[in-house]
């Protein structure tokens, strides 16, 4: 058991003009994560504290927040890894709805725009199952691990500075389907991801991949999209006969 000082950004849209920090002293177990401490605050000290969480096991992607300035899943940020006061803020680059809850409409719209689902090659579904070799699966598997936690958006200065930027997770998920041997929707997705405000807005800071709790490596996906889009452009302009 140890006492942990939490400094949490509070914002009540009904009464506050701007957010402010509130400090809580919490008696914590050694094995607790930041989310446990927040739950303890809500249950015993201050029931008005608002934040999102669900699974407590780094699967749902709901509890993304800034812990000492770094985007983290609160359920994966162990208190024992921090010294002194732990500062908890809502995910950066998103408007604050209330306390640690952010407005994520922009991300959801961007995610939907890249059609992150299987678009079959043929209009009529295949009569039998769609077979895939282990090699074909491995080609995209890493990019399926995204849990839409948006830590990559909070880490990406490009997204902070240019809100129109499609952003790391949306591009990585589009890339995941583009690399799937069963999928035929690449042309439809290229409209979004090969645009100026798609992959080309990225200047390869690489922060998205560093903070990704699932090791998806969105920065890698974005660079691969850039290379493939460049090949597309050359094929279209220099070798138009190759285009179907």
């Amino acid at each position: 058991m140890r006492q942990v000082e939490l400094e949490v950004l509070r914002y009540n849209p009904e009464t506050d003009r701007e957010p402010h920090f509130q400090r809580y002293s919490v008696d914590c177990q050694e094995e607790w994560v930041v989310l446990d401490a927040l739950n303890h605050v809500k249950e015993t000290l201050d029931p008005t504290l608002s934040y999102r969480w669900s699974c407590h096991m780094a699967v749902c992607g709901s509890c993304g927040m800034m812990v000492n300035g770094e985007p983290k899943l609160a359920c994966k940020a162990f208190l024992r890894d921090y010294q002194g006061v732990i500062r908890v803020e809502p995910l950066r680059h998103f408007p604050v709805e209330r306390d640690l809850v952010t407005v994520i409409d922009d991300f959801i719209a961007k995610l939907a725009s890249v059609k992150p689902y299987l678009i079959p090659r043929d209009k009529a579904p295949q009569a039998s199952e769609y077979r895939q070799t282990p090699a074909q699966l491995k080609r995209y598997k890493q990019f399926t691990l995204c849990i839409n936690c948006m830590l990559c958006y909070a880490a990406c200065p490009e997204y902070g500075l240019i809100p129109k930027y499609l952003g790391p997770a949306a591009i990585a998920l589009a890339h995941r389907w583009n690399r799937d041997s069963r999928d035929g929707g690449r042309d439809a997705r290229q409209e979004e991801i090969a645009a100026t405000e798609g992959a080309w807005e990225c200047s390869f800071v690489g922060a998205c991949s560093e903070v990704c709790p699932e090791h998806v490596d969105p920065a890698g996906a974005i660079q691969q999209v850039k290379i493939e889009s460049t090949v597309d452009w050359y094929q279209e302009h220099l070798m138009p006969w190759l285009k179907k």
Partner: protein, 127 residues
């Protein structure tokens, strides 16, 4: 209940929020030196086209302390840019052979090897 989301402004302090952003900005900043050096080379070509006297004056200018300092800085920035860039190449150019992906060090290593070979050729031609 009315909604009133609060928009937090982004200021230039983001650069210093984590060492990774500083490293990134240094990589971006390196282009100023590399670009400046390229312009210097273009100017050198122009001097070469204007005859031996102009070319000799250009070579003399390159020997000045300011020029040597500029070249050392440019070399440091170019090396930093190249190293950070080559280390990132496995992300951009993943190579799948059969089921497995070629290890990162092979892809980055191939770039370093290409760099060494090309630099050796240029050095051999220059000496």
């Amino acid at each position: 209940m009315s909604r009133k989301p609060y928009e937090r402004a982004i200021t230039s302090e983001w650069i210093f929020r984590h060492p990774r952003y500083v490293r990134y900005m240094v990589r971006e900043f390196s282009c100023l030196f590399i670009g400046g050096w390229t312009l210097l080379m273009v100017w050198g070509l122009k001097q070469l086209s204007e005859g031996p006297a102009a070319w000799a004056a250009f070579l003399e200018l390159l020997k000045s302390p300011a020029s040597i300092a500029f070249h050392l800085l440019t070399l440091a920035f170019a090396a930093y840019h190249s190293v950070t860039w080559f280390n990132l190449t496995p992300k951009a150019l993943p190579l799948q052979v059969g089921e497995e992906f070629v290890p990162d060090w092979v892809i980055a290593g191939a770039h370093y090897a290409g760099w060494a070979v090309l630099s050796s050729i240029i050095l051999a031609l220059a000496i």
